[in-house]
């Protein structure tokens, strides 16, 4: 408890209860949407106060089950996020190994160039990317949605650091047994990087799942919408919509997968997100 030394017991209690009050404000919007999602559209169209009426229904959720569009978006998001995450993990591990433990001409210079890529924001490259993908006819394809996220240097940076931290005796011992470099990488070193793989994997999956700008301009066919874009398209005619409850249910449906990942892997998610921000 000494880490909190400058704060007395009573002060600590007051601070904590202030945080409790703040958390109510924090969670109220979520609770409100949850409440709306369990209320009938028809009742809501006469006034959203109906949500407090205590008549709950699962109809909005069964409407989602009957709505092939939302499921298609969900599937698209899953394909893109899993594909992009696998790509990033594979390429970052290979490149991290090469940068950290092998010697090749130009290695140091190229590593510095890649590091500079960390400072490039999306808007500096998104217009040219859009043109490149138009030329290659890659818009409205899964590979087209996955690829830009795989160019980010964060994964390479993270894996290089991780490979560097592994004692060099480990692969030198394997080298004495005449193992090939790929075998050393695959059998000896890669299993040691699992914690970093988990962090990078969760970080990339969340980035891909939540990405907005690139799928907005690349996956423009309704069939190719990711869930993020689908939810955006649902809310465009917000004022005219008759289905406020249905819309709320979509928000909940879209939030559930990431919240489940977050609750199960909370520590990993927090490490991954803060690691990605600090670099």
């Amino acid at each position: 408890m000494s880490a909190a030394a400058p704060i007395s017991r009573d002060q600590g209690r007051i601070l904590f209860w202030l945080a409790v009050v703040l958390s109510v404000l924090m969670l109220a919007p979520m609770a409100w949407v949850l409440l709306l999602s369990f209320t009938e559209n028809e009742a809501l169209s006469r006034g959203t106060e109906a949500a407090f009426g205590g008549h709950f229904t699962l109809k909005n959720y069964s409407d989602i089950a009957g709505n092939s569009g939302v499921f298609r978006w969900f599937l698209n998001s899953l394909i893109v996020a899993v594909g992009q995450t696998s790509g990033v993990l594979i390429m970052s591990s290979l490149a991290g190994y090469a940068f950290a433990r092998l010697e090749w001409p130009g290695r140091k210079v190229i590593f510095v160039i890649v590091l500079f890529g960390l400072a490039v924001p999306e808007q500096a490259v998104i217009i040219p990317r859009h043109q490149i993908f138009t030329t290659l006819n890659l818009h409205n394809t899964y590979i087209g949605l996955m690829l830009p996220g795989m160019s980010l240097p964060f994964g390479v940076f993270l894996m290089t650091q991780f490979f560097r931290a592994i004692p060099s005796e480990i692969d030198e011992a394997a080298l004495l047994d005449n193992a090939s470099r790929f075998r050393i990488f695959w059998k000896v070193l890669l299993p040691l990087t699992l914690p970093a793989q988990a962090t990078l994997g969760i970080f990339t999956f969340l980035m891909a799942w939540n990405d907005y700008w690139w799928p907005l301009i690349s996956g423009t066919d309704k069939e190719m919408y990711t869930l993020t874009i689908g939810i955006a398209s649902s809310q465009v005619n917000f004022a005219q919509t008759e289905g406020l409850g249905f819309l709320a249910a979509q928000a909940v449906f879209a939030a559930i997968p990431v919240l489940i990942v977050y609750i199960i892997f909370q520590r990993h998610v927090v490490t991954a997100v803060s690691g990605g921000a600090v670099k």
């Binding site: 809501l44 090469a98 001409p105 808007q123 080298l175």
Partner: protein, 290 residues
């Protein structure tokens, strides 16, 4: 044998090749191509010749660009202090080993994992006139309802509220980690000197985490300069551009008005601003780690 391992060999580069190809094609090349585009007369379908700095001149003479600059600066200048301040408050309040504070930490971080479209959808359910949670609350109090998303002044404010709600988890977690790094014997030594709690706080706690506080502020400056989705989805920049930030200006110019050359020029200008902030971040991180 170890010498073989250390040998410089071109074949070793093969391991890095897959990533380097993607990096070159989708990050390095577009970065250069963007500069080239910004000096071209261009639309979505092709290039119509070199026009030098013409696009830049057009951007810098566009009152809408300067409006977007003002909106962005105002947004950054208001959200970042709130994010750092609230983050510090929560970190101090929740820096305990109790179950309750662990749950609250989890709750405050939970919004961070949501996508921007869910965040804006949630906040529209709060802000919309008539049906929104605030509207209902105002009515119950007998107050005049406010069109939060469609009134000048309120629209950017509402985008800011949603943004703070979305982004608060990260400052809290980073500051919390810094608080836990402070060696306990510093406080013990101060306690032996009969230092007051306020003195310990201002002379030990704050100096010990000042590096992190600056780092958190710079990260948030870089992030909030890139405000896009919240403004596009909640207010679409309105009314009259009063909540249209720079990235939305770029998006409009390039992808709605198809003026790709001018959009590229505007994005290069934004890139320079963000690069300066990112360099600052790099420098601050270096210092904080030392």
């Amino acid at each position: 044998m170890a010498a073989l391992h250390r040998q410089k060999r071109l074949s070793n580069a093969l391991f890095a090749l897959p990533y380097l190809v993607v990096f070159a094609a989708l990050l390095a090349f577009p970065l250069g191509w963007g500069v080239y585009l910004s000096m071209q007369k261009a639309d979505l379908f092709g290039l119509y010749g070199f026009i030098g700095t013409n696009n830049y001149v057009r951007v810098l003479n566009d009152p809408l660009f300067w409006q977007a600059v003002r909106v962005t600066l105002l947004f950054v200048a208001t959200t970042v202090p709130v994010l750092v301040g609230l983050g510090l408050f929560l970190a101090l309040a929740l820096n305990r080993r109790t179950r309750g504070s662990a749950i609250l930490r989890g709750a405050f971080f939970s919004s961070t994992v949501l996508s921007v479209t869910i965040v804006t959808l949630i906040w529209r359910f709060v802000f919309i006139p008539g049906d929104g949670l605030l509207s209902i609350g105002f009515e119950a109090m007998g107050w005049e309802p406010i069109g939060f998303l469609s009134t000048r002044g309120w629209s950017l404010f509402s985008v800011g509220i949603a943004t703070v709600w979305w982004c608060l988890g990260l400052p809290m977690i980073l500051i919390l980690a810094a608080l836990q790094q402070i060696p306990a014997d510093l406080y013990e030594a101060a306690a032996l000197d009969n230092a007051s709690r306020w003195r310990m706080f201002s002379r030990i706690t704050i100096p010990q985490i000042s590096g992190t506080l600056i780092l958190v502020a710079v990260i948030q400056i870089v992030m909030q300069f890139q405000l896009f989705g919240q403004a596009q989805l909640m207010t679409n920049g309105g009314p009259n551009g009063s909540s249209r930030p720079l990235v939305l200006y770029i998006y409009r110019t390039a992808f709605e008005n198809w003026d790709v050359g001018r959009g590229a020029a505007a994005s290069e200008l934004l890139f320079l601003i963000i690069l300066a902030a990112a360099m600052l971040q790099f420098w601050v991180t270096r210092r904080a780690n030392r």
